[in-house]
């Protein structure tokens, strides 16, 4: 399988601090890959190495099957990048900047003429493109950052914390945008510490902590690999010991705790077993008032992985 991003043994040190530690990152073509980690995990450092802003101490990098070594401008031709909290020259106007960047991508006058208004509209800067960037708010610069990352219709889009500094509407828009880019078959690699964002748009995730990749897989695989599992809350019309005992005997149930009308059922699995449970209760004459499955969230996985390694160190 061809990878859009492939690093082997990527290591970056700042003095005695190892910001990225032997990272093997593989981002498949056509996926939305979330790069997840707490503050200072090494996400930005990794992305800056991918973009040629920092030199790695060890390891190799391939972007769109091209090896990155030193200054490799041709590798960036089909890559769009939005820096973490991007800053643009405040003496230029929004459209001037996009036009100049477009020329740097080798886009023709016609391509620029079509693409720039489309992007300005998409990121909600239409009507402000003739203002100097110095007059833009932080969120507007962030939006300009998204526009310039999509300028060259890139095969690979790298977004470093795209929602940082955006209002809630902007955050929703970013998610929609990412889904749209993905629909066109392009690859998105986005770093975030917002779990719900990653959960909603990503097909794959890599979790990084203290420069080390703790997990890297599809979202489904990450969930099903969980050691712990889900909990089911069932509210019955009338409590019944027979039902509790019967449920305890089910193979996928580890424990049942009754509390008045409520039963808390610990499950050994992460699969959805609500039909089997409800069938069992109904068979024994019980009446279910409500049923609430609390599966393990990405947050649980994240916390689990992070605290485990945090404790070791």
């Amino acid at each position: 399988m061809k990878h859009a991003i492939e690093t082997v043994g990527l290591t970056k040190r700042y003095g005695s601090l190892t910001a990225v530690n032997k990272l093997d990152l593989k981002v498949e073509h056509g996926t939305v890959h979330g790069f997840l980690g707490p503050n200072g995990a090494g996400k930005t450092t990794t992305i800056k190495i991918l973009m040629g802003l920092l030199r790695p101490d060890e390891g190799t990098i391939k972007i769109l099957d091209r090896e990155i070594r030193g200054d490799t401008p041709e590798a960036r031709l089909k890559v769009g990048y939005m820096p973490e909290l991007p800053r643009f020259p405040k003496h230029l106007k929004g459209w001037e900047l996009l036009d100049i960047y477009g020329k740097m991508y080798g886009m023709t006058t016609q391509q620029r003429g079509e693409q720039i208004p489309k992007l300005l509209e998409m990121v909600g800067l239409k009507g402000r493109e003739k203002d100097l960037i110095g007059k833009y708010s932080k969120g507007m610069q962030q939006r300009l950052g998204i526009a310039q990352a999509l300028l060259n219709e890139p095969e690979l889009v790298i977004l470093d914390e795209p929602s940082l500094g955006l209002d809630p509407v902007g955050m929703v828009e970013v998610r929609e945008l990412v889904r749209e880019i993905a629909k066109e078959g392009r690859t998105v690699f986005l770093s975030s510490h917002l779990l719900f964002e990653v959960e909603q748009v990503c097909t794959h995730i890599t979790i990084i902590h203290k420069g080390v990749a703790l997990a890297s897989d599809t979202i489904q695989n990450i969930y099903s690999k969980l050691s712990g599992s889900s909990t089911l809350h069932v509210e019955l019309a009338t409590p019944s010991d027979i039902i509790v005992e019967a449920l305890k005997k089910l193979s996928f149930v580890s424990d049942v705790t009754p509390d008045g009308n409520m039963l808390t059922i610990e499950l050994k699995t992460n699969d959805d077993v609500r039909p089997q449970i409800s069938q069992e209760i109904t068979k024994l004459g019980g009446v279910i008032v409500s049923m609430n499955l609390k599966g393990q969230t990405l947050e649980d996985v994240f916390m689990q992985l992070i605290t485990k390694t945090g404790g070791e160190k």
């Binding site: 802003l53 200054d71 003496h91 230029l92 020329k103 740097m104 080798g106 950052g145």
Partner: protein, 312 residues
Amino acid sequence: MREKTGGDWKTRFLAVVKYELLWNIRKKKFIGVITLAFTLATLSLVLPVALSNMSGGELEANPEYVISTGAGIGGLGMFLFAVVMVMNSISGEFESGTIVPLLTKPVSRTTVFLGKLLAAFITLLSAYASLFIYMTVGGWIIYGPQNDLYLLPLSLLGTIISTLVWMAIVLAIGTISKSSLLAALGTFGIFMALTISSPIISFFTNQAWIMHYLPGSGAYGLIQIQTEIQGVPVIKSISALTGTDSIAANLVNYARYPSANVTFYSLSSNPLEPITEPLSFILLRSLAVASAYIIGFLFAAWYFFKRTQVLE
């Protein structure tokens, strides 16, 4: 020099030039220094007229005015232009963080560096050319018809070469330190140290030859030319400086008096036996010294820029 990016290197390069040019001409500092330069130029033209009017006299016609003053951009002026032109061009991008989106476009760092350099050069050339034109027209109006105006482009060229020396120093300090403030202050320090030490070295030691090889005005000498005023042979003295700041004047003087010699009194341990060098030699030496500084400092700036990591 072509990048294997599939597109046209020239388009990318010109995009960088435009990026930088738009930035340059909208800089408050640049607008300020241009305004200052034109104000000073106007004052230098108008003040003598005002003074002579006050003393009731008439200003005498001087056909040598324009060719001997050029645009009137002295050492300090060239230094100021250089600082204002390039103190931000690389370090400022690091300070503001705008270097990140720029360097992640498919343009090589060398292209970015050369584009910024060309933009600074174009801005400088336009600023100087307009000053030259302004001073020529003003000089003509005030002092009457002017001699040898065809030599003005040579004077412009010399002024630009001299300014490039300072520009290269500012760029190198700025790129290496990534601080615009340090670039400006560091170069100012060098400028002041040289300006203060020049006369001291010239007058109190007999090592003034050092001045030939330092950026700045250089050692002081005199050109003596046999000429005639109304049929009477006279010897006319023109002061000549050997440093990188004086290339414009030396170029013009050489074009007018190719076989002139420059006499230095301070270079000699015995004032009765002054040292004499041909003007052509002094001109070539100052051009060589200036080129060495320009190439050396620009190379250093480029090398660091090429290798630097963007930590910001």
